[in-house]
């Protein structure tokens, strides 16, 4: 076992996959000599050289479009977008080509590509560095969307994403890049895409989240347990597409209540999709409407006001009480 934070876990997955498969290529802005602005790819350039850790010109559509061609030609590119707020020039390539090349060619040409990007707020960053726009990828047929919440999952899910035969959007919550260390196996391993994880068992209510706010959810659940009021089950969605409704619905059938925590703006977010699917699957067991704790339908504020925007432990506890007392 190695004691790793999320940055190191992602780097280990990249390193081991590059050692395992010569077709795995890392490309992006500043990923090479500089090791990435968050140092995720540090050391890879020195180990694998400039032909496998490729510093590209500064053009996101170019990076993703070129990676699509590399993947069609038999490579497994892992493209880094420096911040998810800069992915939009590449959104056309993702929507118009990466997600549908398999369909367009009836399986003849495929795009086994990963697009990694730091995502979410909480680091007092500049404008465009704090958004949580995962829903715009979840809505695209043909893309998979993965958001890890801890180093162990990050390594296993990224390894699985690189080996996956289809394009995967891999969002890395930068707020927790270095927030936690945990024991992570030194050897390579995969975690299946499309499986949620029950991270805390409970009977009163199901609290659902992904990414950085799994931690917020667990803290809220722990507080309520310490206070001896509610016994909350916490589920980490892990992959938003494909979404593991079975695990979530089974929990809600058991608890009868659900709250979803998402950092993204409220309207049209993934929490809404979860609420709809729970209504379809568990309407008769639901004792209360599915609660949502979300960002506002506003532009995420800069650092001074950021804490007002994000879901926090108190807000999650408040919603849990409201849902319990409905």
């Amino acid at each position: 076992m190695a004691n790793l934070n999320l940055v190191e876990a992602v780097r280990e997955a990249l390193r081991q996959e590059m050692e395992h498969d010569p077709k795995v290529i890392v490309l992006g802005e500043d990923v090479g000599r500089n090791g990435g602005v968050f140092r995720v790819t540090e050391g890879l350039f020195q180990q694998f050289g400039p032909d496998r850790v490729v510093d590209t010109p500064l053009a996101e559509s170019g990076i993703v479009g070129m990676a699509i061609g590399m993947a069609i030609a038999g490579y497994r590119p892992v493209a880094e977008i420096q911040f998810s707020g800069f992915v939009y020039p590449a959104y056309d390539q993702l929507v118009s080509h990466a997600s549908r090349m398999r369909n367009r060619s009836r399986g003849g040409y495929t795009v086994p590509m990963v697009v990694r990007m730091p995502y979410g707020g909480g680091i007092r960053a500049l404008e465009h560095h704090s958004e949580s726009m995962e829903a715009v990828f979840v809505h695209v047929p043909g893309l998979k969307v993965v958001i890890p919440s801890d180093p162990y999952d990050a390594k296993g899910l990224l390894t699985a994403a690189i080996r996956d035969p289809d394009p995967v959007i891999f969002c890395e919550p930068d707020r927790i890049y270095r927030a936690v260390r945990m024991e992570v196996p030194e050897e390579s391993y995969t975690l299946p895409l499309g499986e949620a994880k029950v991270v805390r068992e409970g009977f009163d209510l199901t609290l659902i989240s992904w990414g950085a706010h799994v931690r917020t959810a667990k803290q809220a659940a722990d507080h309520l347990a310490e206070e001896g009021v509610y016994d909350v089950e916490v589920i980490d969605v892990r992959t938003l597409s494909p979404f593991d409704i079975n695990t979530v619905a089974a929990s809600v059938v058991k608890t009868g209540r659900a709250v979803v925590v998402q950092e993204a703006p409220r309207t049209g977010g993934f929490a809404s999709e979860i609420a709809t699917q729970l209504m379809e699957r568990a309407i008769l067991q639901l004792e209360a409407p599915v609660g949502r704790v979300t960002g506002f339908d506003t532009i995420p504020p800069l650092g001074r006001l950021e804490d007002y925007y994000h879901p926090d432990v108190r807000g999650v506890m408040r919603q849990i009480r409201a849902t319990m007392e409905f």
Binding site: P57, S61, G62, G65, I68, G142
Partner: protein, 362 residues
């Protein structure tokens, strides 16, 4: 503090064969009479297929499609310069390229006929499917070119697009990436002077498309796009440079779209009959025929034989297309992912059971 001129450039234009069919022997590419006959037959067959597709569209037997009338020399001449191991990344106005790359032409009819199975190309064809969004596919050519270089294959990539595509950002990103990575890519712009109703002058203020190469650090050349010998010659040279590790080239084939943009368009709304007549006199197919007649390679009998053979082939392809069994509704779900997700399995089941219910009158 002197002012110095850092960069100056010239853009060559290559013409081998004039509209009368007279060639400049010094520039004539190395083509055998058999190869010239093959090029001619491909152009004739492409035109017959294009004509027949128009009729099929008017009869409702296929859907909207983009005609290639007038551009046969540009895309056929360029595609002919490729070896079998080379890649072709097309846009949507390259019917003749399908014939040269060994894609069964009934597949093209099937695709334009609204059946995606037409894009199920034979394994190893190294031709990507038609790409409808304008100007975004050239980046894929760069990625494939990068892969060929990395893999130490000597294969190159030809990507074809129109003058409208040169206004898209991805065109510039593709040119820049290709030059920075010295990827073996040939960018062929079929400058047919009209992006639907917008003329070249409204697309760019540059005198040529070819000169855009200068800013990215690669050669840019204009050719007479209705002169198949010139297109072939220039593309062949670019292919050899790319194959030898000398990087990408931008070729502007200066041609003319003698048809409407697609079967849904009416070009009479925005351009004059005089302009069309001017270009009809410069028809690329007739130009090659004039050369071949003068060279003793084509007489009336041979011309009729080529036409008859093309007609027969086209008739066979139409027959093969129309004999295809209808697509199953499951085809919608078949190629979203390598393995369908549980949600896709459930949605397919939902569709099939609703169809069964409809059959049973429920």
């Amino acid at each position: 503090m002197p002012v110095t001129n850092l960069v100056s450039f010239t853009i060559p234009r290559v013409e081998v064969m004039d509209p009368a069919g007279t060639v400049d022997a010094a520039l004539m590419p190395d083509l055998t009479p058999e190869q010239i006959r093959e090029l001619y037959a491909t152009m004739v067959t492409t035109r017959k297929l294009d004509d027949r597709m128009l009729k099929l569209q008017r009869q409702g037997r296929i859907g909207t499609f983009a005609r290639v009338l007038g551009q046969e020399a540009a895309h056929i001449g360029a595609t002919y310069a490729l070896a079998k191991e080379d890649w072709l990344v097309p846009a949507f106005r390259e019917t003749g390229s399908f014939l040269l790359r060994g894609i069964p032409p009934e597949k093209l009819l099937q695709y334009w006929g609204g059946d995606e199975r037409g894009h199920d190309f034979p394994a190893g064809s190294r031709m990507l499917p038609i790409s409808v969004p304008v100007g975004t596919h050239m980046l894929h050519a760069v990625g494939i070119g990068w892969a060929m270089k990395h893999n130490k294959e000597r294969a190159v990539v030809l990507t074809i697009f129109g003058d409208g595509a040169t206004s898209e950002g991805d065109f510039h990103e593709a040119m820049n990436f290709a030059a920075v990575f010295q990827a073996p890519v040939i960018f062929l712009c079929q400058n047919n002077q009209w992006a639907i109703s917008v003329p070249y002058e409204r697309q760019t203020a540059a005198a040529t498309v070819a000169q855009k190469a200068v800013a990215y650090g690669m050669p840019g050349i204009q050719v007479d796009g209705n002169d198949i010998f010139a297109v072939y010659r220039v593309t062949k040279e670019a292919v050899e440079r790319a194959r030898n590790g000398e990087g990408p080239t931008l070729i502007e084939a200066h041609t003319y779209r003698m048809s409407d943009h697609t079967t849904s368009d009416d070009a009479r709304r925005y351009r004059t009959a005089e302009e069309l007549a001017f270009w009809q006199e410069r028809d690329p197919l007739e130009r090659l025929a004039r050369y071949m007649r003068a060279a003793g390679m084509l007489d009336e009998t041979a011309e009729a034989a080529v036409a008859a053979e093309a007609e027969a082939k086209v008739a066979g392809w139409v027959e093969a297309f129309e004999a295809k069994p209808p697509s199953e509704p499951e085809e919608i779900f078949r190629h979203v992912f390598a393995e369908p997700t549980p949600a896709l399995v459930a949605q397919q089941e939902e569709l099939l059971s609703s169809l069964n219910a409809a059959d049973e009158g429920r």
